[in-house]
């Protein structure tokens, strides 16, 4: 009896420890992504000139692209405050995906697990999707107050359950789309590399670069679209 109790006590401890578990490899790669994303504007805005050259040209182009994306989805009057959110969404996903595909993470060996794109972890993608959900809820409530909840019965009250369901499927689809694309691409490339490490994986890697860029664009566009949709009033 005594021995059993001791052992149960000892077995309990790992469960307590594991409730504060963390995927350290995701955090490490996300810090690298953040470092890249902060280093770029710090270097490029050193010497801002009216006639841009080189790096300043590039960051202006990126900002113009993000502004255009946000403006297309949300309309001319209301898009300005949301540019940072959509911009960070797009840039973080884009740089995460491409860092996973381009940087030689395998050089660094970890005792458990391995380094890869931070978006191949369900925690990251669900975190981004939840942020998008919170953002569009906040946008709707901020703009329209409690009449925002009128949108649930907007076309007809028959659609109420579907509209409520939409609030769950939106973040679900956002997170799974990104997670599935990135993880699947990494797994396929890993399988190809383990089979034929020379030339064969390269087309798959290029396809992975392309699709991961598209996924970043889609995530940002959909986030902007949901926010825009929840801000527009009854016509």
């Amino acid at each position: 009896m005594q021995i059993e109790q001791l052992q149960i006590f000892e077995i309990d401890n790992p469960h307590q420890v594991s409730s504060v578990e963390v995927h350290a490899q995701v955090l490490i790669t996300s810090w690298v992504v953040i470092a890249l994303l902060i280093a770029l504007p710090v270097v490029a805005t050193r010497n801002l000139q009216t006639i841009p050259t080189g790096l300043q040209n590039f960051i202006e182009y990126v900002l113009e692209f993000i502004r255009d994306l946000t403006r297309t989805q949300m309309g001319e009057e209301e898009y300005r405050p949301w540019v940072p959110f959509i911009g960070t969404m797009f840039l973080s996903i884009f740089v995460s995906n491409w860092s996973g595909a381009l940087l030689p993470w395998r050089v660094i060996q970890l005792p458990h697990g391995e380094l890869a794109a931070p978006t191949n972890d369900i925690n990251t993608t669900v975190a981004l999707a939840l942020l998008t959900s919170i953002a569009y809820f906040y946008a709707g409530l901020h703009k329209r107050g409690f009449s925002y909840f009128g949108k649930y019965i907007h076309p007809t009250p028959v659609l109420l359950p579907i509209n409520i369901l939409e609030d769950f499927t939106k973040p679900l689809s956002l997170s799974f789309r990104l997670f599935g694309n990135i993880l699947a691409d990494e797994l396929v490339v890993a399988v190809f590399v383990s089979l034929v490490p020379l030339i064969v994986p390269v087309p798959m890697m290029l396809l992975g670069l392309f699709t991961s860029a598209i996924q970043a664009l889609i995530s940002a566009t959909l986030a902007a679209a949901y926010i825009g949709e929840s801000m527009e009033g009854h016509h």
Partner: protein
């Protein structure tokens, strides 16, 4: 026997979590990281670059407005220049015509003069010829007279 109960529990402790949907503290940490990144990017990238781009747009718009005003001035200046040109052209044509008339007149005068000279000389030459003709006629007459006298003398010597 009691330790047998412990074995599966120990085995569970030793296995590593391989679940694919493994939600843990990483999720809120990523949320916090995203929000901090958003603040950082907004202050480091979006705000300064937006400022430069908007200032540039303003400057271009100002310059375009300025250029539009300048074009009116340019039109006025153009009209003035054309007026001056027209006046100058009229002046030069008038002067040209005057010059032309003057030279024509002087040419005419010279022509007249030389014609008169020629006519005079012609008349002189004609008069000369006339007088020479009369002279030769007279001398011929004389010679004819002499010849006829000689013939008569020869024919009527007896």
């Amino acid at each position: 026997m009691n330790t047998l109960w412990a074995i599966p529990a120990i085995a569970e402790e030793a296995e590593e979590k391989g679940k694919i949907f493994d939600f843990n503290l990483t999720l809120p940490i990523i949320v916090a990281e995203f929000l901090l990144l958003m603040l950082a990017l907004d202050n480091l990238w979006f705000k300064p670059v937006a400022k430069v781009m908007d200032e540039r747009d303003e400057a271009i718009r100002q310059k375009l407005m300025g250029v539009r005003d300048n074009s009116d001035e340019i039109k006025k200046l153009q009209e003035q220049a054309e007026a001056i040109l027209k006046a100058a052209r009229a002046e030069t044509t008038a002067e040209l015509n005057k010059m032309r008339r003057e030279t024509a007149a002087s040419l005419d005068a010279k022509l007249q003069e030389s014609r008169q000279r020629v006519e005079k000389e012609l008349a002189e030459a004609l008069a000369n010829l006339e007088s020479q003709k009369e002279e030769t006629l007279r001398s011929l007459d004389k010679q004819v007279q002499e010849l006829s006298d000689q013939i008569v003398a020869k024919v009527i010597p007896f």
